[in-house]
């Protein structure tokens, strides 16, 4: 008997950390209890994308979307919906504006504006079942390539698609392949880059978790085009679920003869070896990644020669990131024209950014999660239409694109179309697709300090500008947030930035000052408030703020209730019930608890 319902349960890392595996067991138990197990199948999927409301399920064929499920909700849900056919409203997504539940997934605005290529199978298949991938046209792109195309034609097709590397740099993928193709060598290699270390970024992890075969198929196509027999995937150890699913996928592909010797009887051999990284930001950089695979410390090297010419073991090596590989099967299957028709095109038809991009949308937006959108969509559409606007009705301040080496863009640039070139022009970058939204409560100097602290700790230390320069910049930024900055410091920051950008060996140093440069460019007044007036306008930098009790409001409205005094961990507040309360500035740790607990708004921060 065929199933009448498929319960697609998200088991991406986000939902798993919210208890998705317990939910899976609960569903199975409950469905069996009602003897529905022959009619209703529960299928664990990879990340569905809408991480903000996880754990979540989508019930097919009606596409009913349930959110924030707990184990104790399962019996009711199974009985009402699966047994009696009554979808349960209280578990549905309910937008705060309308308060009207939206039953169907595709009617939820978060999903409406997305366009899926790299994530085409997300939430639709069990990532641990190769048959389900095959059912969704899996390995069809590869069979097309080996039966109907020459290696040169495959490379030309990738070139014509305009696909640019999704790892950050945006280098044209076809061109990279062509360089390796034209380099004579007895052996060539492919590396799948699944090392992502940007704070708040999880695109590659999600792709491997939800659709590992799309990556394997992309690599098969690349290996066919370049005559590669040995490939490596570099996954950081912090991604256990991605690793597990990739191992399973490799085993299944081997079983079917899609990896190993004489693939599909076409005489092609290919092995994929999993290399587990220790989780260093720098190891996402091509040359450092190669060093790491070879067993050395992950240090960047100057790219006088491309790895595509001389990489791993001195042989031509193609390194592409997970998202890039996941795009390849669709480009071959559906053709370069289809892919190139999506996204933006530069002048004279070249350049530009074709296809889609996966972003991890995090920070102060309502709908955090993983989104895939066509290139050229505006930041506003991503943040407001898909992201559902800013949390707690706060005011938007800035969005950082491209991770620690990206830049902060202000409200005036919200209508900027998102593609590689436009972002670069604005001082930010695409990076691997991290997108962090910042609201009025965040201090931009402090944000720059945070990201510089990150790159400073993650610098491999090989070249002096990056190792010492970022340290000096961090010192200055810390001084400014402590209220000890001078106007001279701004000039020094800009000078150091220029120097580091120009003289660093690799892109980590070359882009590290971006958060500082863009915050100075777009939020200069905040820096000036810190150095000139010794004030932090966002009230974040502890050294620059004071908490004071308005004695009039405290007595008239709150009657000296004393809640602040009881909650102060520093015992910095003195006073008696019905009498005026005071904060001792020498004792105050500026934790803000008094401000949060006061019901009468008698405490103000300056």
């Amino acid at each position: 008997m065929p199933y009448r319902l498929n319960v697609m349960l998200c088991t991406g890392t986000g939902c798993v950390s919210n208890g998705a595996f317990n939910l899976l067991e609960a569903f199975k138990t409950e469905i069996r209890k009602h003897e529905l197990h022959e009619e209703v199948a529960v299928i664990p999927t990879g990340c569905n994308g809408f991480c903000a409301v996880g754990p979540l399920v989508v019930v097919q064929p009606d596409e009913i979307f349930y959110q924030k499920l707990r184990v104790e909700d399962v019996p009711f849900l199974v009985q009402e919906h699966f047994l009696k056919g009554r979808p349960v409203k209280k578990f549905m997504y309910t937008p705060p504006e309308t308060k009207e539940p939206i039953p169907i997934m595709s009617n939820i605005p978060f999903f409406g504006k997305q366009m899926l290529i790299a994530l085409r199978n997300r939430g639709l298949i069990d990532p641990e079942n190769i048959d389900e991938y095959i059912a969704r046209d899996g390995y069809k792109g590869f069979t097309k390539a080996i039966t109907m195309m020459t290696p040169k034609q495959v490379i030309d097709e990738v070139k014509a698609s305009g696909l640019r590397g999704r790892g950050g740099g945006g280098f044209p993928t076809g061109l990279k392949w062509e360089v390796a193709f034209n380099t004579q060598s007895d052996e060539k290699f492919i590396i799948i880059n699944c090392d992502e270390g940007d704070p708040g970024a999880f695109m590659d992890r999600s792709i491997v978790e939800s659709d590992p075969h799309s990556v394997i198929e992309g690599v098969l196509i690349g290996a066919y085009a370049l005559g590669v027999k040995q490939t490596y995937i570099y996954v950081r150890m912090e991604y256990p679920l991605a690793l597990k699913r990739f191992y399973i996928a490799i085993e299944q592909a081997k079983e079917y003869g899609l990896l190993g010797q004489n693939i599909l009887g076409k005489g092609m051999d290919l092995e994929i070896e999993v290399h587990r990284g220790a989780g260093a930001f720098i190891c996402g950089e091509e040359t450092a990644l190669i060093r790491s695979i070879q067993g050395f410390a992950g240090e960047a090297q100057a790219k006088y020669i491309y790895p595509a010419q001389k990489g791993l073991n001195g042989k031509p090596t193609i390194i592409n990131n997970v998202e890039t590989w996941a795009n390849i099967p669709q480009i071959i299957l559906r053709g370069s024209n289809w892919f190139a028709s999506i996204g933006t095109r530069g002048k004279n038809g070249d350049g530009g950014s074709t296809g889609t991009k996966v972003f991890s949308l995090v920070g102060k937006v309502n709908n955090t999660g993983l989104v895939e959108v066509p290139m050229g969509i505006t930041l506003r559409e991503i943040i407001y239409d898909i992201g559902g606007g800013i949390k707690n009705n706060k005011k938007f301040k800035s969005v950082q694109t491209g991770g620690p080496s990206g830049g902060f863009l202000p409200e005036s640039l919200l209508d900027l179309p998102v593609d590689f070139d436009e972002l670069l022009k604005a001082g930010a970058m695409m990076g691997s697709g991290g997108m962090v939204v910042v609201d009025e409560d965040n201090c931009m100097v402090d944000m720059a300090r945070y990201f510089l602290d990150f790159v400073q700790s993650e610098s491999c230390g090989k070249c002096i500008p990056c190792r010492e320069g970022t340290k000096r910049m961090l010192d200055i930024l810390e001084r400014i947030t402590y209220g000890q900055g001078t106007e001279d410091d701004l000039l020094k920051l800009e000078e150091l930035s220029r120097l580091i950008v120009e003289s660093s060996l690799c892109a980590l140093g070359g882009t590290a000052p971006n958060p500082v440069l863009t915050t100075i460019k777009y939020f200069r007044e905040e820096y000036e408030a810190h150095v000139k007036n010794k004030k932090c306008p966002a009230h974040t930098c502890k050294s620059l703020i004071t908490y004071t009790i308005d004695s009039k409001i405290c007595i008239e409205k709150g009657h000296g209730c004393g809640v602040c005094r009881k909650n102060c961990p520093q015992t910095a507040i003195t006073g008696e019930i019905k009498k005026e309360h005071r904060i001792d500035p020498t004792k105050c740790d500026k934790c803000g608890i008094c401000f949060d607990v006061c019901k009468f708004d008698a405490i103000y921060v300056d």
């Binding site: 008997m1 498929n6 639709l124 039966t147 079917y256």
Partner: protein, 128 residues
Amino acid sequence: MPKLTIEELDKLREKAVAKLRLRESGENRGKVTIHLGTCGIAAGGRQVLTALLVEVEKLGIKDITVTTAGCAGLCSREPMATVELFGQAPVKYVDLTADKIKKILAEHVVNGKTVKDYALAIGSERVG
């Protein structure tokens, strides 16, 4: 010998596609709803549903959704089913059995001819 040839991979795909069809919100010609309120279940609605699902697979019908819903209101005539073909008025069938639903599937869903003997009403309900 290769483990799998391209032809075998294609066959495998065809088989797997049928299993996944449920999840694709593709072009559907219509929908058969079995009413499974407490009354429907007590009257044997589940058996009717099972028979329908088996038959749909047997006949290889791909463009029809089989779904369930709650009580349709007329508890004394359960098990009930509603057949909705795109562009036509929905038809409610009552007092169903496994054999009756098979006949409805063959005559109404496949051939487009309402089985008048089992039908309660055609397009009789209004919403709003």
